[in-house]
Point group: C2
Chain length 235, copies 2
């Protein structure tokens, strides 16, 4: 049975890393003594070691040990044997490139679909969708494909940002960018605001947190979904 | 002799399309009765025809006729025969995909290097750099490569946006995204604010407009360049 948390962000303004999610994570990973961390997205270019250390310090609070996938001789074996898996944020292009380079994109998808508890934040959430095509990140490296894990049958836009009506900036708003995606693609896109996450339990998908999420579907006006909305049938 | 205008944006807040640039364009395209428009970036998914029509209406003001590259039977011949070329903004991933699909990326680069006057705005400016890896756009389609025209020996970040120190949003700032690019790439990046443009005349590159531009180089602190700065030696 799938058991997944797909979070918009790791960190809320003026909070500690994962602080707002810790109660949910304690329950989510309750059967895990240790989890596998995938640091490939390397926010700001931080090293795999440093990123893993930061995550380990946080999970220590809920008595879970953390080991980075880069510490294993074989990334595939590491995923197969993991009690739980967390993919952290950073740059989605880099993350996806590394997952393909290490030949674990498909294996990771299958492993999580088979029931290994998974947490994604930001870039680690982006890859839960059918493709990474609704990321906000810069294409700093060229991945072999934009296809991702497909743990849900739609795409995510983490860190969803509402249009600033006061702005004089003429660059595209987030909503305009997602509409552009829909000019050429039919996959629904869920804009997850910071503080929101999806809880996937088996085939049931629920919006968690205190905020609404913005749903974009091709040829339809965007709609706002309340917390606790059921997204199980979205595809 | 190269003759290029690389503009951050087509449109300033509360202005008409290309309004602020028209005096410069009148001089830039002074020997052109007609120009070739490349509408491939299709902002908001607008059709090639509609986009070209909008551009034609603007250039009519300075007595230059406009024909879209899609109106020609052969895109290569259209580029070879053009008196001047303008690539409009929209989605850079789409633009680059279409330039490769129509087999004109290299030809366009060579044609502009050989002296055909060129104007780029936004996505059309992004492709003037060595790669499109510092675009702000969403990866709505998968291009065969991120390499672009290389008309200058650095990369552009159009619509450069300063960090909002009041923001509670935790997504990466533009500066953080460019720094992430430099964690994995050595190409200098010029952040062009809306209202700024580069004028390239032969080997001379000059910052135009009233605003400073922000220059990012690997392992260096960003610097501000004043209007009329000479960027000829940046590589």
């Amino acid at each position: 049975m799938k058991k997944i948390i797909i979070a918009s962000t790791s960190t809320l303004h003026e909070q500690l890393y994962l602080e707002y999610l810790l109660p949910a994570l304690q329950s989510h990973f309750k059967n895990c003594k240790s989890i596998l961390f995938i640091p490939y997205a390397r926010p700001g270019g931080i090293s795999h070691d440093k990123y893993t250390q930061k995550v380990a310090e946080t999970f220590q609070v809920i008595n879970i040990s953390v080991k980075g996938i880069h510490e294993f001789e074989n990334a595939e074996t590491a995923i197969k044997n993991a009690e739980g898996i967390f993919t952290g944020g950073g740059n989605t292009f880099l993350l996806v490139s590394q997952l393909y380079k290490n030949n674990v994109m498909q294996l990771l998808s299958q492993t999580v679909k088979n029931g290994t508890p998974y947490l994604g934040t930001s870039a680690g959430s982006n890859i839960c969708g059918l493709s990474m095509q609704t990321t906000n990140d810069m294409p700093i490296v060229y991945p072999p494909s934009f296809q991702t894990l497909g743990l849900v049958s739609f795409n995510l836009n983490p860190h969803y940002l509402d249009t600033d009506l006061e702005s004089k900036h003429m660059g595209e708003t987030r909503e305009e960018r997602i509409e552009e995606f829909h000019a050429f693609n039919a996959i629904p896109v869920l804009g997850l605001r910071e503080g929101s996450w999806l809880e996937v339990k088996g085939e049931k998908i629920t919006l968690k947190g205190n905020l609404s999420a913005r749903l974009f579907q091709k040829n339809q006006l965007p709609t706002e979904l309340d917390p606790e909305s059921d997204l199980s049938n979205l595809k």
